[in-house]
């Protein structure tokens, strides 16, 4: 008991008395540990964060009817097979040919709030329609009809002939809508008019039918494939298909990015750890005189090694704790600045960081101490 107390006293006293030198060592260990915990956290978080960026490309899965059309209930059914945390957006689409200024135009009835999530690349001049009564007009239609933001437009629809008396004239259904925004995508969407599904249902007088649903899911392509298979086989009305162009490319790019961060992490870590090791070696080497003195007054080699190692590892532990905190702060800052979202805290990284810094300092102390204990105390005390 007494012996152990003495041991701790010697270790702590040595750290306190040689304050400035030990601060230098502690600082270097803490930097190493910061880099370790910071980069590892980023490495594990990059796929999730980058994956979210890749959702910019829009839907990566579509539901098509296995025959005719499907309903909102089918979508909900299919949706239940996907982990809700993975879902970025689900947008139903129903296409109908309507007329504006007596010219035929393709209209897509959809949930425009969801469409913003599944097609984040849509660039809208004006406002994004929030409620019913307004629509989003494709840019080329806007030019063709000279209709701009704020204009009111009458959309008409000829109901299908439903077999009632033939000479009865069928009147067009019409609805007045405000152009809330003009849609620019550089793609075929510019030739469409987008309106709320409920408006389209009111216009056509038919409800419940959906032609297609776009899903944006943040998951890798294997997971997506298994979702698609499960949904296609379990939900009768749906045929789930992957948008290959998006999923394949995402996998390619994401794999490369993660490999890049991994390699960079490994290189940076290796170099930093060597830096920590050289600093520790320098700190220990300069205490050769002290080692010599202790040996001269009768300390055993084992005792000296134990004591110095204790000191080194205490430093390592302290540095590790400081480093884990700083590393997390760093990773958090990176995440907020780069991805503007906060990082997930991984508890496992803390013990790993502390263990690694203890191990690195331990090993880098051990070698110089061992060589120091092997020399003749008389020589060291005499000054080389």
């Amino acid at each position: 008991m007494k012996k152990r107390q003495m041991y701790f006293r010697m270790i702590t006293a040595s750290l306190i008395r040689r304050r400035s030198r030990m601060l230098v060592a502690l600082l270097s260990i803490a930097i190493g540990a910061t880099i370790l915990s910071g980069l590892v956290t980023i490495y594990y978080d990059v796929p999730r964060q980058m994956g979210a960026q890749f959702r910019n490309y829009g839907a990566n899965m579509i539901f098509t009817p296995s025959d005719g059309s499907f309903t909102q209930a089918d979508i909900e059914d299919g949706r239940s097979y996907i982990e809700s945390a993975d879902i970025v957006g689900v947008t139903p689409y129903r296409y109908e040919s309507v007329r504006i200024h007596e010219l035929p135009v393709m209209a897509a009835g959809t949930d425009l709030t969801q469409a913003k999530l599944t097609s984040p690349y849509w660039s809208v001049e004006g406002e994004y329609p929030s409620g019913t009564g307004s629509l989003l007009l494709g840019a080329s239609l806007s030019e063709q009809f000279r209709l701009f933001v704020g204009d009111t437009v009458t959309v008409s629809y000829t109901p299908e002939f439903d077999g009632r008396s033939e000479d009865e004239t069928i009147l067009d259904n019409t609805i007045d809508l405000t152009v809330a925004g003009v849609l620019e995508t550089g793609g075929p969407e510019e030739d469409y008019v987008y309106l709320q599904l409920s408006d389209l249902e009111q216009l056509t007088g038919k409800s419940g039918e959906i032609d297609l649903a776009e899903l944006s899911i943040s998951a890798n392509s294997d997971k997506l494939r298994s979702y698609a298979e499960k949904i296609s086989s379990s939900v009768q009305a749906l045929d789930a298909r992957l948008v290959k162009r998006v999923t394949e490319s995402e996998t390619t790019v994401l794999t490369k990015l993660q490999a890049l961060v991994l390699l960079v992490t490994v290189v940076v870590l290796a170099l930093t750890m060597i830096c920590v090791a050289t600093t520790m070696t320098a700190v220990v080497t300069e205490r050769r005189r002290e080692i010599g003195l202790r040996k001269a007054i009768g300390a055993s080699n084992g005792g000296i090694i134990k004591e110095f190692m204790g000191e080194g590892m205490l430093l390592g532990g302290l540095g590790g704790i400081i480093g884990s905190v700083l590393g997390f702060i760093f990773a958090q800052q990176v995440s907020v600045h780069v991805f503007s979202s906060s990082i997930t805290f991984m508890p496992l990284i803390v013990p790993v960081t502390i263990l690694v810094s203890v191990a690195v300092t331990g090993v880098s102390c051990l070698l110089p101490i061992r060589s120091a204990t092997q020399i003749d105390p008389a020589l060291v005390l005499k000054g080389e």
């Binding site: 930097i31 990015l257 490999a259 940076v268 170099l271």
Partner: protein, 429 residues
Amino acid sequence: MFFRMIFGTLVRQWKKMLMIAFTIALGSSLATAMLSVMLDVGDKVNQELKTYGANITVMPKESSVLSSLYEVEDGGTSGAYLREDELGKIKTIFWAFNIVDYAPFINAKVTLDDGSETSAVGTWFNHHMELPTGEMLDAGVTSMRSWWEVTDGKWLDEQITGSRNVAMVGTALAQRLGLKSGDTFHVAGAASDMQLEVIGIFDAGGEEDDRIFMPVDTAQTLGGLDGKIDSIEVSAITTPENELAIKAAKDPKSLTISQYETWYCTAYASSICYQIQEVITDSVAAPVRQVADSEGAILEKTELLMMLITILSLIGAALGICNLVTASVMERSAEMGLMKAIGAQNASVSGLVLTEILLTAAVGGSVGFFAGWGFAQIIGQTVFGSAITMRPVVIPIVAVLVLLVTLAGCIPAIRMLLRLRPAEVLHGK
């Protein structure tokens, strides 16, 4: 005498100096590697993002309003076309070097033997071209449809097939017709009909699975559309858009002359589009927002991420070097004390220490620079399969960094040395 003393230290204390040089080398290699990777990562990731396909489409000005999203259209009836003979001009614009690949498309409606109609798409697969500038160029959809999976046969290559009537068939259509690679089938177009030989079956995971892809001439012959092109897809390396680019995209005429020059000479999607419109008669080139915007966002994020990691590792390297330099200079207090005891001036002692350390730093720094360049190449080869381009700007940055860091490491040590009282030091306090 000065040099002899320095030389003496370097030789006699070579172990200690080697350790300092080694740490500085590690630090500078880290800085070099991270800076080179950081500066090049944009280009590299941009190349990778090309797997998403074209980011610019070129259409005729009067293109049909009713071409449709889910391909219910009846195939190129609009009456407005681009001219095939102008295609080479795309490679002559100011930003030609940034155009990675491009391919024209021409749609022709064809009738199959079972009476069903489908769309025959003529395009370049691996088209060889001689430019007006005398350069040679191979372009085509092979790289712009990287997500296509060729399930049977192989990619069509018009340089191999020559003038044979060949085609690649989408998997859905092939299944319906029971076609395999090597089979021939009959199609009738608006102008003529012919037997097509199937070179490959592809799975595109979309509407293209129901179509037939063939060389441009073949589709033109089928549809009687000689020399006409529906659209061009261009895959270009672009700079993420900023406010200037957005303003310019709306109306280039709203810019001042100097803004216009900046915009024109920067590889924004909008300026490349503008330049393409200048060379292709009656065309409208527009960035494909889905690809162009996402590319910009991802690029920006990756660059920022790499920059922050680089800054962290630079700070780490700097502090590591600083530490070691301080520790190793302080260690020599006895020697310095002795020098002062026999009458050395403060200035000459500091000069001596500084010169020694800076010499060591120069050696360590240059060794580290080359090692770091090696690390960067390893990263480039492993991750992207291509070399990292060395930017000359890295050399001065690393040099200044090493110099500053080493000096910073020396300052506290030298201040301590100056405060030394020779008697105390020699007494061995």
